[in-house]
């Protein structure tokens, strides 16, 4: 493909699927308060735990070694990624009372690692997931401000909350927070951090803590760290609309992404902010190949490696609350009722509140309807959680162009399924196609995370 013969993607007709979602004129196709930029930014989400990362291949790298992180971040910077994003979980996942053995587990502290990556990178943003429930706001705010200063204005904070007392067993206050209070608490926490970053004096007596402090560090080149948030629930979306700069909950289909954009725009405007103040970079898994057929095969191969028979049984055991090791992974879902009372289910974000009775019945029906075995069902569930983009390089590029033109998303927060080489084909094959199509930057827009996400200056 040479530049002279490039089709003008901006003027190419939208697909029927995309056209059906348009409700306004070209400049506001989805919502009167929202103008698409037509541009995408990518983040890389190094999960470090869970089944998304394949550990079984010869090329599966060390999950803790510095070299793995350094290699991945260099690839990301070569691909002009806006952000390098680290997850966090404050207690080792357990399954039936024992540390979960089947998935990748154990990772370095996010901010400590990012402080080191700041020294060997120039431009990429450095985003740490940090919990508002089990941190002290002044300490956490200072650590973020340190990272922001060390990196010359590239720090970001993915704000998460936890309410379970099980995680609290690692911390001074234990499980002190009610589920319903978690966003109220998180918002108060973020406000304290922002006051500190702005050099203000804090004299806070709230429901959960009393804090006296004085912000005394200088502002970084981007002013203060960029705030990320994943909450997909209405309360989470409202929290993001009031507080966050970037939302990254996964939405794999165009329709779901469009619906989410409208919801976030409405809530952002209702919160008194400009619709452009909140960017949407859904969490995504990307599986690419030269042709559609190869990509289909590859995504099946990836799923097989992510979810083995043992993990499939373990997934069901989380919800059934009982030993299912006698069931055949290639057979139908267990026809036994869950044992709701048994303690020691696998713990981790999102798992705690499943209503076992209801859910297991629904799953049995769903699998029977689709004619799926335990293994097929588990692999399907894992895929649907991940917002997977799969296909040939060209097909995925074209699809992302539609997302960008509609303004459904502002980019993706990509979880590589292989460490450290999992970004290679994205950087080598997808990004050049997005650049040719004019929806992805060829050079960094600036030196701060805020600039590279296209966020308005503070």
């Amino acid at each position: 493909m040479t530049t002279a013969q490039l089709p003008t993607f901006a003027d190419a007709p939208l697909s029927a699927e995309a056209q059906a979602l348009v409700t306004g004129p070209a400049e506001h196709p989805l919502h009167p308060d929202h103008t698409p930029t037509g541009q995408l930014s990518f983040g890389v989400f190094f999960q470090g735990v869970n089944s998304s990362t394949i550990w079984r291949l010869p090329e599966s790298g060390d999950q803790v070694a510095w070299e793995s992180f350094e290699s991945l971040v260099r690839t990301a910077e070569r691909g002009r990624f806006a952000a390098f994003f680290l997850g966090e979980g404050l207690r080792l996942r357990e399954h039936r009372g024992v540390p979960f053995e089947l998935d990748v587990a154990g990772r370095p502290d996010a901010q400590t690692l990012l402080a080191a990556l700041a020294a060997v990178t120039d431009t990429i943003g450095l985003v740490a997931t940090q919990n508002t429930t089990y941190n002290d706001p002044v300490d956490l705010a200072r650590r973020f401000q340190t990272l922001d200063l060390l990196s010359g204005g590239r720090a970001g904070w993915n704000v998460v909350t936890t309410d379970n007392a099980w995680t609290g067993e690692n911390f001074r206050r234990g499980g002190y927070l009610d589920h319903a209070d978690r966003y109220v608490h998180a918002e108060a926490f973020v406000r304290i951090a922002q006051q500190l970053w702005r050099g203000e004096q804090i004299d806070h007596d709230g429901a959960h803590y009393s804090v006296r402090a004085q912000g005394d560090l200088p502002r970084s080149p981007q002013g203060e760290p960029v705030l990320f948030q994943a909450g997909a629930s209405p309360a989470g979306q409202d929290f993001a609309a009031r507080t966050a700069d970037v939302v990254f909950s996964p939405h794999g289909t165009l329709e779901a992404a469009v619906e989410f954009r409208r919801s976030i725009v409405e809530r952002t405007v209702a919160a008194g902010r400009d619709a452009a103040d909140v960017k949407i970079l859904p969490g995504a898994e990307v599986v690419l190949a030269a042709t559609e057929k190869e990509a289909d095969e590859k995504v099946r191969w990836v799923r097989d490696l992510q979810i083995g028979p043992e993990q499939a049984i373990a997934l069901l055991e989380q919800y059934w609350g009982r030993d299912l090791s006698d069931f055949d992974p290639d057979g139908p879902l267990p026809d036994v009722p869950p044992e709701v009372s048994e303690s020691g289910v696998t713990r981790g974000a999102g798992f705690q509140f499943a209503k076992a009775e209801e859910l297991t019945r629904a799953w049995r029906e769903e699998a029977a309807e689709k004619g799926q075995s335990i293994l097929e069902f588990a692999r399907g569930k894992a895929g649907s959680r991940r917002g997977t983009f799969t296909g040939s390089y060209d097909a995925v590029a074209d699809r992302l162009v539609e997302f960008a033109r509609l303004g459904a998303i502002d980019g993706l927060n990509i979880t590589p399924w292989l460490i450290p080489s999992g970004l290679d084909d994205i950087v080598d094959h997808l990004i050049p196609r997005l650049q040719e199509r004019g929806v992805y930057p060829s050079e960094y827009a600036g030196s701060t995370l805020r600039e590279n996400l296209g966020l308005p200056p503070l």
Binding site: W55, R56, Q63, V64, W66, E70, G89, L90, R91, L92, R96, G97, V98, P99, F100, E101, L102, D103, V104, A105, G106, R107, P108, D109, Q111, T112, L113, A115, A116, L117, A118, A119, V120, Y134, D136, V138, D139, R142, R143, T146, L147, L149, L150, E169, N170, F171, R172, Y209, S210, V211, R212, A213, Q214, D216, L217, P218, G308, E310, Q311, G344
Partner: protein, 358 residues
């Protein structure tokens, strides 16, 4: 280990906790039952000169992690590394000392990195995780210069009131013990990547921390795999000895840091004599680090350090320049502690007991 007169630099007979140490019983916790050769956490104290080989202290320079230091920080650290020192300590000047140390890890090769940071008004689990992460990132060059915060403004930032001297000392000891239990919660080979069984991490090679202190508890295991040094060396500077209390300074920590304040304008000969006298002392904790504080960054800091390190080395008062890739334990002559499983805390305990009942 109930004695404070362990000899030599190989105090490997102590289990991870102070189980067996007299007069520590505030926790009521059953300590690990590791045998000799388990994780060494006890300080070897007086009488070190009587032992077989006496490892000389490592020369360190203290940098205050101040925002004003940001611009020259990387170049200064590299320059100091080339001036013959073995360690950098990072003191709190506004920037978080652990992050400042971590920032320096990938751009230095041989110097140990020891943040000087509070053990009291902190979340012990976070602190332990951050320090073991620094150890991973620096390939085993991490240390902890343990201090106990005395500034009354600090407890107010975490909604606590200022602890008295005794309570501060007890809390610092608890946080140190809890940290070591977290550090020692994964075996070296816990990540097995067993394709046949589909097992990534072997729960029987993990153990819970199960620390119950006076004011907090930590369940564990660590959310980070075991770090290269296993247990990160913990040292107490002379400046901090009063605040942290004698138990941490003399029994629990791995040794003492002799502080030499260069801002007083002392002549090099005086400095050398001070070091010689301190090393000759036969009581108190072993001097592990000789730390230059108050270095004037405006007046040829690298030249000053190079001159002092050469003179100290010529008099045989400090350890040789570290090799690239040496861990802090290597530099200090501390043996690498090995994981010793405490059956009562092992990770798969729940599975074993359910099988027993089945």
């Amino acid at each position: 280990m109930s004695t404070t007169t362990t000899t030599a630099t190989t105090a490997t007979t102590g289990p991870t906790s102070t189980a067996g140490t007299t007069g520590t019983g505030t926790t009521g916790r059953t300590g690990p039952t590791g045998s000799a050769g388990s994780a060494s956490t006890q300080a070897d104290t007086a009488g070190a000169q009587d032992g077989p080989v006496r490892t000389l202290p490592v020369l360190a320079v203290d940098l205050v992690a101040d925002p004003a230091l940001l611009a020259p920080l990387a170049e200064l650290a590299r320059g100091l590394e080339d001036s013959g020192i073995g360690a950098l300590t990072l003191s709190d000047g506004g920037l978080h000392p652990i992050h400042a140390a971590s920032y320096l890890a990938p751009i230095t090769r041989s110097v140990a990195l020891l943040p000087r940071t509070d053990a009291v008004y902190v979340e012990p689990f976070h602190l332990a995780t951050q320090l073991m992460s620094l150890d991973h990132i620096s390939h085993g060059r991490a240390g902890w210069l343990l201090t106990a915060e005395t500034d009354p403004a600090v407890p107010a930032t975490v909604g606590r009131s200022t602890l008295g001297f005794e309570a501060t000392a007890r809390e610092a000891a608890d946080v140190l013990e809890a940290s070591r239990l977290v550090w020692d919660s994964w075996a070296e080979d816990a990540v097995v990547r067993d394709n046949e069984r589909g097992v990534y991490v072997d729960a029987s090679r993990l153990q819970y921390a199960d620390f119950e202190g006076e004011t907090f508890s930590v369940r564990g295991p660590a959310i980070t795999p075991r770090s290269p040094q296993g247990l990160i060396p913990v040292l107490v500077a002379d400046t901090d000895r009063g605040a942290v209390g004698e138990r941490v300074a003399t029994e629990l920590a791995d040794g003492r840091v002799l502080d030499l304040d260069l801002s007083t304008g002392a002549r090099p000969e005086t400095v050398l004599d001070l070091v010689e006298t301190a090393l000759a002392a036969t009581d108190g904790p072993v001097v592990r680090l000789v730390r230059l504080v108050g270095l004037d960054l405006e007046a040829d800091p690298l030249g000053t350090v190079a001159e002092l390190s050469a003179a100290l080395r010529e008099r045989g008062l400090i350890a040789p320049v570290p090799q690239n890739g040496a861990s802090l334990r290597d530099q200090l002559g501390l043996p690498l502690p090995t994981f010793t499983l405490d059956p009562a805390r092992r990770g798969d305990h729940a599975r074993l007991s359910s099988k027993d009942h089945a």
